[in-house]
């Protein structure tokens, strides 16, 4: 039996007798944990815009994302590990998106697919467009393109797997003790424009300055 190197579970330099290699691995807890997660990143089934179509194409026969353990699209956030922001995030959509993110259990990852999710893309100047989802959510991987081809998407997801490989249970932010849920993003409010409640003071000050100038 060949060494279990593709899944990267067994640590190198441990010589396991040949006849038990398929049942025994010597490894660290982190490695075991990451190995489990990297092959079962379940995305939230969630299409925002044009990029979502390429996401579907990546799931379909020719590109077949299932090879990377990412084909189990979950329509409910409570079963999803990864939010693939596949398209333009509008201000009107943002509260719904944040609510979904807050409902996802940890560990959770965010992948910004395409120019729009990364920065606003071609629609950045639009009055209803959020110029990049990273203004609200912690993005793990950005995938450039408009839309990224399925190959690019898969490459981005492999990057995410590599990122997972390097994590340690003790250090990841969601297992830190004593801090109030560090991933919770407060809900923005739809007012005269989008209100990010974390920045209220800043808005107030700028609006007052504007009044002074007027």
């Amino acid at each position: 039996m060949e060494e279990n190197k593709y899944e990267g579970l067994n640590l190198p330099n441990y010589n396991i007798p040949e006849d038990i290699q398929n049942v025994v691995s010597v490894t660290t807890l982190d490695r075991l944990y990451n190995w489990g997660r990297r092959w079962s990143v379940w995305p939230l089934m969630f299409g925002l815009a044009c990029c979502a179509i390429e996401m579907i194409a990546a799931q379909a026969a020719r590109y077949d994302m299932a090879r990377f353990g990412m084909e189990v699209m979950r329509p409910t956030p409570r079963q999803a590990d990864m939010m693939l922001v596949s398209g333009t995030v509008t201000k009107k959509m943002l509260p719904a998106l944040i609510r979904l993110y807050n409902q996802m259990p940890e560990p959770k990852y965010v992948v910004a697919m395409g120019a729009c999710a990364s920065s606003g893309g071609p629609f950045k100047e639009g009055y209803n467009v959020v110029a990049g989802i990273d203004k609200f959510l912690p993005v793990d991987v950005y995938i450039p393109g408009c839309p990224p081809t399925p190959q690019a998407l898969i490459a981005g997801l492999i990057k995410l797997q590599e990122k997972i490989d390097k994590q340690s249970i003790r250090k990841v932010r969601w297992y830190q003790k004593g801090k109030a849920d560090p991933n919770y993003v407060p809900m923005p409010i739809l007012g005269p424009d989008l209100i990010d409640v974390r920045r209220n003071a800043e808005y107030k000050e700028a609006a007052a300055r504007k009044e002074g100038a007027a």
Partner: protein, 581 residues
């Protein structure tokens, strides 16, 4: 050549001498109707002259003349050119124009959109709420004096980018360091967001309450979406249910409103082309087509002969691909999880390969130019198209039909389940396959031929029952007809240049207006462009078939079970990029 959007066949000014005048501005056509008599004239147009299909309603802002104009395009479902009429209101609040919702119900969402984005009040509209933005949003963004937060200059190319090339991040220029704009003195802590009561009241009003029922039941409101796997994107629908029966329903949209119109008016004519790709992102070629012929109409330029054929080939390939996906997705929604969709995507990939080979991109082709297309089809790609059209696609369509059409479960689910009848469809301005499945043979490729469609021999696919099964089968019919057109186009395509113009970044477009429309796979895709002779359009509006077809959703679903709603929505074949623009 395409027929002009409106011709003066009908002399409306003679019929209504004091009320209607001919629009005499250079480059403009149609009639200007006094707003007090608008309903009267519109009723006459519908009943006396047979303009039964209202295509678009949109507004144009003329701050220099202190006027707001509402532009209507109406057509006859028996075919032929349409009529354009306008009405004007002074630009002083409140700007009011009578609503035409009682004449053409298809005006419903479009009037709401005009109210939302231009701030024109339609008196008599029963449910005039914002449609794309949220209640409480500040201002009406499509007015010429409304500036977005990242506003830099009126028109592109921005001086900071070209020729100087030293622009600053948009975030740095804005006082809020973001894409935001608050009224001065705004205090976010004191702000009370508006509730959605109005939405729910609008449901209440139209609901049917059983008066004499013994059992006291309560109706409940269910919100589906904007995150829901079967709403095909970010559509939200507020449904009022009595048990499982839908008593009232209102779509809520705007979750993908990407401000096409506003960005379009800042762009130059050519810069808009890639944006049209992103309207109906399944069919970028069809979107390009519509926009190209509209601007060509304004510029009064011919299209190179070979390019006409290339355009038709691309548009029809797009249609085949769209309908295959429709079938796959419909079956997905019906519960045949994934298998048919995977079959459909396999064929789609082959068609996308062709797009990629000619245009360089799989989905966002950006392939058409004014006067032609941007690149020729290489010989080997032509051979691929031939193989697809002659062998692969017909065989695969047969295969799908063999597997699915006679399937007992499918037939039991679809047959006899009413979608729309002809009268309901026309009243709600529904176009495309849904209209044709209801027995109205209205296909722009025949009814008002554009490009070279008049040279091909094909039938307009039409079915008469208007049930789900017909709506499903008509997609196969259309694939077959598209393949027929493709075969002829491949045979007839001449050699020659692919553009009648020199390649250029900045086109000269004389002042005037044009409305161009094509039969996109989803229905009538129209563009209304007003030019004032500058390098940027003065007004750019998209008549999106998905958006307007949604007007009929309530009619379709009322009285049906909530489980049918998913299938009925799938029948409309909407794409959110186009619904919200």
């Amino acid at each position: 050549m395409t027929a002009p959007a409106s011709t003066q066949i009908l002399d409306l000014a003679a019929r209504f001498p004091d009320v209607v005048s001919t629009d005499a501005r250079p480059g403009f056509s149609g009639f200007i109707v006094k707003k007090e008599n608008l309903v009267e004239v519109a009723t006459a147009l519908r009943d006396e002259f047979g303009y039964d299909l209202l295509s678009t309603v949109t507004g144009v802002d003329y701050p220099a003349e202190n006027k707001m104009e509402v532009v209507y395009h109406a057509f006859r479902t028996i075919g032929g050119p349409g009529i354009v009429f306008k009405t004007q209101a002074d630009r002083v609040e409140p700007i009011e124009v009578p609503s035409l919702i009682n004449v053409w119900h298809g005006a419903d969402f479009q009037e709401r959109e005009t109210w939302d984005l231009m701030g024109i009040k339609f008196t008599g509209h029963p449910d005039l709420r914002r449609i794309l933005m949220w209640e409480g949003f500040e201002g009406h963004p499509l007015r010429k004096d409304w500036k977005e937060a990242f506003f830099e200059e009126e028109t592109k190319p921005f001086k900071s980018r070209w020729p100087e090339g030293n622009h600053l991040y948009a975030e740095f220029r804005n006082p809020y360091r973001d894409n935001l704009n608050f009224p001065s003195g705004f205090d976010p802590e004191q702000y009370q967001p508006q509730t959605e009561d109005q939405l729910y009241f609008s449901l209440e009003r139209s609901s049917i309450k059983p008066k004499d029922a013994d059992l006291k039941t309560d109706s409940i409101v269910v919100n589906m979406g904007p995150h829901h796997p079967s709403t095909h994107g970010v559509l939200r629908v507020a449904v009022e249910l009595d048990g499982e029966t839908v008593t009232s329903l209102k779509p809520v949209m705007g979750y993908l409103h990407r401000n096409h119109d506003k960005i379009g008016e800042r762009n130059t004519y050519l810069q808009i082309m890639p944006y049209t790709d992103r309207l109906d992102y399944f069919n970028s070629m069809a979107n390009n087509f519509g926009y190209a012929i509209t601007v060509e109409k304004l510029m009064k330029i011919p299209v190179a002969e070979r390019a006409e054929y290339i355009r038709v080939i691309m548009a029809e390939l797009t249609r085949v691909q769209n309908h295959l996906i429709f079938i796959g997705m419909l079956l997905n929604d019906l519960g045949t999880l994934y298998t048919p969709a995977l079959y459909a995507f396999e064929e789609r990939e082959l068609i996308l390969d062709i797009f990629e080979a000619v245009a360089g991109a799989r989905m966002m082709c950006n392939y058409f130019r004014f006067g032609g297309v941007v690149r020729d089809i290489p010989d080997d790609v032509m051979q691929k198209i031939k193989d697809l059209v002659h062998d692969r696609l017909p065989a695969k369509t047969d295969e799908m039909e063999r597997f699915l059409n006679e399937n007992e479960v499918l037939m039991a689910r679809l047959k006899g389940m009413h979608v729309l009848n002809a009268e309901e469809a026309v009243r709600n301005s529904v176009t495309g396959p849904c209209l044709r499945a209801a027995g109205v043979p209205y296909d722009l490729r025949r009814a008002d031929p554009y490009s070279v469609y008049d040279r091909f021999d094909f039938d307009v696919a039409v079915r008469y029952n208007g049930d789900m099964y017909d709506n499903y089968l008509i997609r196969f019919d259309e694939i077959r007809q598209s393949l027929r057109i493709l075969e002829q186009a491949i045979k007839q395509i001449p050699q020659g240049p692919i553009n009648s113009q020199k390649p250029q970044y900045q086109v000269r477009v004389p002042a005037g207006e044009a409305y161009g429309r094509v039969e996109s796979p989803k229905g009538e895709l129209g563009y209304y462009v007003v030019s004032n002779g500058k390098p940027n359009p003065y007004r750019y509006h998209v008549r999106a078939p998905s958006f307007i077809n949604l007007t009929a959703l309530e009619t379709m679903c009322k009285g049906n079970k909530i489980a049918d709603f998913v299938a009925l929505l799938a029948m409309l074949d909407i794409v959110m990029g186009e619904v919200d623009r």
